[in-house]
C-alpha cells in the first residue's frame, strides 16, 4: 500500500501549494476570498456613416476629453483603409479619417471603454478663458442689437457669470416673452440651435464658457444624438458649472459623460454625403478588482502581474469558461465513483453542462431531449440505408445542426430568446451520443439507453449547477490555483475503493438473502 500513501502525500502537497499561493494573493496582492461588488464598465462606440462623393473625403469626430469621474481604460478606432490620426483642434481631441476618392457607403468606428470613478479627477480642466473660436459663432442673421439687449437685461438681473447664465436659461424658457418667441420662431428649431443661441450670447458677453455634447450612460442602448449643454466658469468656486438648456444650473449627474467639450461640432466632414454619427453604449458588470486593475493599467501601465486580468477581456471570458471545465470533471468523477451513475461517454456531461450554461438549464434540457429524440428516430431510419459509419454520423450531425437552426428560428419567432444560443451545443458530441445510444438500444435494449441517457443528463445538470455557482466561478477565476485542490481531490477519489451508493441498492436484496 505504499503507493496509497504516496497519493496522499502528493495530494497534500498540491493542497498546501494551492493554499499558500492563495494566502499570498490575499495577504499581499489584495485579493479577496468572496466576490466583491461589481462595477460598471461601459463600452461606448461611435459609429460614423456617410457616402463618398468620389472625391477625397475627410471626417473629423470630436473625442471625449479627459474628465472628472471617468477613467478611460481603452480606446480603439477601426478605420479600414482610411488614414487615421488623433488631432487636437481648439483644445479638443478629434479622431480624423481621410482618404482619396471615396465612393459608396462607408462606416467608421471609434470605441472606448470607460470606468466611472467618482474619485477620479481629470489631469487638467479647460482654461477659464473664452475660446476665440466661439467669437465667430453666429445665430443666423440674429442682429447684434437683440443680443446686446438680452445681455444688458441679464446683467441687471445677475451678479456674476453663473447667475448671468442662469437668468438667460430662465429667460429662454419663457416663450411668452416677445423677443424670445421671435428668436425661437426664426432661429431655434432644436436644442442644438438653442445651445448655439446661448453660446452666441455668452461669447458676446465675454463670459468663459464651453459648449458640451454629453452622453447619458446607463443600461445598454443605442443613441443617435448627444445631449447639448453648456458650462460656465464659476470664478468664485473656481470650477466649471454645468447648465441644462432647459433646467439651467444643474449638478453633473454621475452617468453623464461629456463627449465633446469645445467650440467645434461633434462631426465635421468634407466631401461626403449624408454624414451621420450614432452612439452605442454597452454596460458590463465587472468585479471591482478587474476594474481597478484595468484602471491602473490604463493610468500607469506598469501593473502587469502574472494574472488572468492582464489578458484582453474576451480571452478572459474564454478562460473563465475554461477554468470551469475541471469543476465539471470533478462532478463527473464524484458521481461516477461515489454514486455510481452511468453516463454515455465519460465527459460528454461536462460538455453538455457547458452548453446548458449558455442556453439556460430548462431550454438546454428540452433542446437536448428534442435533438437526441429526433436524432434517434432519424438514425433508426438511416440504419436501413446501409451507410458507412463516418457517413452515417455525418448525416446525423447535419440533422443535429438542422434541428438546432430550425428550433432557433422557430423560438425566435415565438419570442423565446434563449434558443438563439443553442449553437453552443456540442454538435459533434451530440451526433456521437445519438449513434452510441442507438447501438446501445439495439444491443442492450431501451432500459440501458434510459440508464445511460438519464445518468448523463443528471450528471450534466449537477455539473451545470456546480459550474454556474457564482462563488465557484469567482474562486476558479480569481484563484486558478484552486485547480490544484481539485486535482488533489480527484487523485484521492481515484483511489477510493469503498462501495458506491448505487451498490448499496444493487446488492441490497442479495446481501439480505445471504446475511443470516
Amino acid at each position: 500500500m505504499r503507493s496509497k500513501y504516496q497519493i496522499y502525500l502528493i495530494a497534500a502537497g498540491l493542497v498546501i501549494l494551492a493554499l499558500s499561493i492563495m494566502f499570498y494573493k490575499i495577504e499581499f496582492l489584495g485579493y479577496s476570498l468572496s466576490p466583491e461588488t461589481k462595477r460598471s464598465l461601459y463600452e461606448v462606440e461611435a459609429k460614423v456613416s456617410f457616402e463618398g462623393t468620389g472625391k477625397g473625403a475627410f471626417v473629423s469626430l470630436a473625442l471625449p476629453p479627459d474628465q472628472d469621474g471617468f477613467i478611460r481604460v481603452n480606446e480603439d478606432a477601426a478605420s479600414s483603409d482610411f488614414g487615421f490620426v488623433i488631432a487636437n483642434r481648439h483644445g479638443t481631441r478629434r479622431a480624423e479619417w481621410s482618404r482619396r476618392e471615396v465612393t459608396g457607403k462607408q462606416t467608421l468606428y471609434y470605441t472606448e471603454e470607460i470606468l466611472p470613478d467618482p474619485n477620479y479627477r481629470a489631469e487638467k480642466q479647460p482654461e477659464p478663458v473664452i475660446n476665440p473660436a466661439y467669437e465667430k459663432l453666429e445665430l443666423g442673421d440674429l442682429s447684434g442689437k437683440v443680443v446686446e439687449q438680452l445681455i444688458r437685461e441679464a446683467r441687471t438681473h445677475s451678479y456674476d457669470d453663473v447667475t448671468f447664465a442662469a437668468y438667460l436659461v430662465k429667460k429662454f424658457s419663457n416663450k411668452t416673452d416677445q423677443t424670445i418667441s421671435l428668436i425661437f420662431h426664426k432661429y431655434v428649431k432644436n436644442d442644438q440651435d438653442l445651445q448655439r443661441a446661448f453660446a452666441v450670447i455668452l461669447a458676446k458677453a465675454d463670459i468663459p464658457f464651453n459648449m458640451i455634447e454629453a452622453l447619458k450612460l446607463g443600461a445598454t442602448k443605442r443613441v443617435n444624438r448627444l445631449i447639448p449643454m453648456f458650462e460656465v466658469y464659476d470664478a468664485r468656486k473656481k470650477r466649471w458649472q454645468l447648465f441644462d438648456l432647459h433646467k439651467g444650473q444643474i449638478d453633473r449627474p454621475a452617468d453623464l459623460y461629456f463627449w465633446n467639450r469645445g467650440p467645434d461640432a461633434v462631426l465635421i466632414t468634407e466631401n461626403v454625403k449624408r454624414p451621420r454619427v450614432s452612439f452605442a453604449v454597452t454596460e458590463t458588470l465587472v468585479p471591482a478588482r478587474t476594474a481597478t486593475l484595468k484602471a491602473q493599467k490604463a493610468q500607469e501601465s506598469i501593473w502587469n502581474g502574472f494574472s488572468l486580468f492582464s489578458l484582453p477581456i474576451d480571452s478572459q471570458n474564454n478562460f473563465k469558461r475554461l477554468l470551469l471545465v475541471p469543476i465539471g470533471a470533478l462532478v463527473v468523477v464524484l458521481l461516477r465513483l461515489f454514486v455510481g451513475l452511468k453516463t454515455s461517454g465519460t465527459f460528454m456531461p461536462v460538455l453538455l453542462a457547458m452548453a446548458f450554461a449558455e442556453t439556460q438549464l430548462i431550454p438546454g434540457i428540452v433542446m437536448f431531449l428534442v435533438v437526441v429524440g429526433i436524432g434517434l428516430l432519424f438514425r433508426s431510419y438511416l440504419a436501413h440505408l446501409n451507410l458507412l459509419l463516418v457517413a452515417r454520423i455525418s448525416a446525423v450531425l447535419i440533422l443535429v445542426v438542422g434541428i438546432m437552426v430550425y428550433v432557433a428560428i422557430l423560438s425566435y419567432r415565438l419570442g423565446i430568446q434563449e434558443s438563439v444560443t443553442i449553437t453552443f451545443f456540442p454538435m459533434i458530441i451530440l451526433a456521437w451520443t445519438i449513434e452510441r445510444m442507438s447501438i446501445i438500444w439495439e444491443e442492450d435494449g431501451p432500459r440501458e439507453v434510459l440508464k445511460q441517457g438519464g445518468g448523463s443528463l443528471i450528471v450534466a445538470i449537477l455539473a451545470y449547477f456546480a459550474m454556474t455557482a457564482p462563488m465557484v466561478g469567482y474562486l476558479t477565476y480569481n484563484f486558478p490555483e484552486t485547480l490544484l485542490i481539485i486535482l488533489a481531490i480527484i487523485i484521492v477519489a481515484g483511489r477510493y475503493s469503498g462501495y458506491r451508493l448505487s451498490e448499496l441498492y444493487r446488492f441490497a436484496s442479495f446481501a439480505k438473502r445471504i446475511d443470516r
Binding site: S497, L504, F507, F510, I514
Partner: protein, 317 residues
C-alpha cells in the same frame, strides 16, 4: 418496487466486492496495463491459446480493412453457422451470430434473416470501431459457430451459453454459467439480459440463478428449472481457466469457456475487467476467497496445485 438499501458495513462483513474495490484493489494492483492487449484483442488471445495448446473456437479468418469488406464471402463457411465479432469488443457488443445460411439469406438465433449487404455493413461498422473500446479502429473476426453441448438443452434460449470463471492470482474463485435468453439475442452477456447461474466450484452444479441482478429459479423463456443444471467436463473447464493465468499473467481475470458438442470445453475469450454479478449468482461475496488465496499465492505452484487448493478451500459444501 420498493427501494431497498444495505449498509456498507454489512457488505464489507459479507465480503462483497464493489466496483471501486475491484478497480483499485484488484485490477489496479494485479493487472498490468501492458498485458491488456493480450485479452482485449480476441485475435491475440486466440494466438496465445494456440501456443499454450488451449482449445478455442475455430478461426475462419478476419477482415482488417474496409477494402476487404467485399471479400466477406470468402470467410463464410459452406452450409454452416458462424459468428462475426469485433476483435476488441466487449460485453457482447457487435457480436453477430448466424445459425445457418442459404442462398444469401442469413438466419440469426432470433429467426431474423439478414442479407449479404447487411452483413457487410455490420463488418464495416465493426472496422470503424463502432463496437470497440474507445471507438478505435478494429478488426472483424469470423469464427465457427459453436454447437453447444446437449447438457444445456433447455437451459439456454437461442444462444451458446458460456462458463465464466473468475481466476484470482491463478486460482479459480467463482464460476457462473451464462445462459442466453430471448432478451439477450443469442449472446450470453448478463447486462443484455442473459441469466447467470452460479456454479459450485467443487461439483459444477448450479447454486442459484439471477437475471438483471434478481434471483430467479426457472429460465424465463424455456421454463427449465435452473437448479438442475450441471456442467459436464468441469475439471477440464477449471484447467483451461487456471491456465489462462499462466498464459496472460493477469492476476484478476475472467475466463469465458464454452462447451462444444464435439470438441468439448474451449476458451472463448478472456476478460481483464470481469463483472461483479457473479457474486449474486453464487450467493456469496468473493473477498473472503481472495484472502484465502492471498495466503498461498506466493508459492510457486502449477495450475494443478492451484486448482487443488481452490477445490479444497471452496469446493466443499
Amino acid at each position: 418496487m420498493t427501494l431497498e438499501w444495505v449498509r456498507p458495513s454489512v457488505l464489507r462483513k459479507l465480503g462483497i466486492l464493489g466496483m471501486n474495490g475491484r478497480n483499485v484493489d484488484y485490477i489496479g494492483r494485479y493487472n498490468d496495463r501492458r498485458l491488456y492487449p493480450l485479452v482485449d484483442d480476441k485475435l491475440q488471445t486466440k494466438k496465445m491459446a494456440l501456443q499454450y495448446e488451449i482449445k478455442t473456437p475455430d478461426l475462419l479468418g478476419y477482415i482488417a480493412f474496409q477494402s476487404e469488406v467485399k471479400k466477406i464471402e470468402e470467410f463464410i463457411p459452406e452450409g454452416e453457422g458462424f459468428v462475426i465479432k469485433p476483435a476488441q469488443g466487449s460485453g457482447g457488443k457487435g457480436i453477430l451470430v448466424i445459425l445457418s445460411h442459404e442462398n444469401g439469406k442469413f438466419v440469426k438465433p432470433s429467426g431474423e434473416v439478414l442479407d449479404l449487404a447487411e452483413l457487410r455493413r455490420h463488418v464495416s461498422n465493426t472496422l470503424s470501431g463502432l463496437y470497440s473500446l474507445g471507438g478505435r479502429d478494429d478488426v472483424a473476426v469470423f469464427e465457427k459457430l459453436i454447437e453447444f453441448d446437449n447438457a444445456f438443452d433447455g437451459f439456454s434460449y437461442e444462444g451458446v451459453p458460456d462458463v465464466r470463471v473468475i481466476i484470482y492470482r491463478g486460482f479459480p474463485v467463482l464460476a457462473m454459467m451464462r445462459l442466453s435468453t430471448s432478451t439477450s439475442d443469442g449472446k450470453a452477456n448478463l447486462h443484455q439480459g442473459a441469466v447467470g447461474a452460479g456454479i459450485h466450484i467443487g461439483t459444477g452444479k448450479a447454486i442459484n440463478a439471477v437475471q438483471f441482478d434478481r434471483p430467479i429459479t426457472h429460465h424465463p423463456d424455456t421454463d427449465k428449472d435452473l437448479r438442475t443444471l450441471e456442467v459436464p467436463h468441469w475439471d477440464e473447464i477449471l484447467e483451461i481457466a487456471a491456465r489462462a493465468y499462466d498464459m496472460t499473467g493477469l492476476g484478476y481475470l475472467g475466463a469465458d469457456v464454452v462447451l462444444d458438442k464435439k470438441r468439448g470445453p474451449m476458451l472463448l475469450e478472456l476478460n481483464a475487467r470481469p463483472g461483479l454479478a457473479i457474486q449474486i449468482a453464487n450467493n456469496t461475496g468473493m473477498l473472503q476467497r481472495f484472502e484465502a488465496i492471498d495466503k498461498v499465492a506466493n508459492k510457486p505452484w502449477d495450475y494443478k496445485k492451484r486448482i487443488a487448493y481452490s477445490l479444497e478451500q471452496f469446493g466443499g459444501e
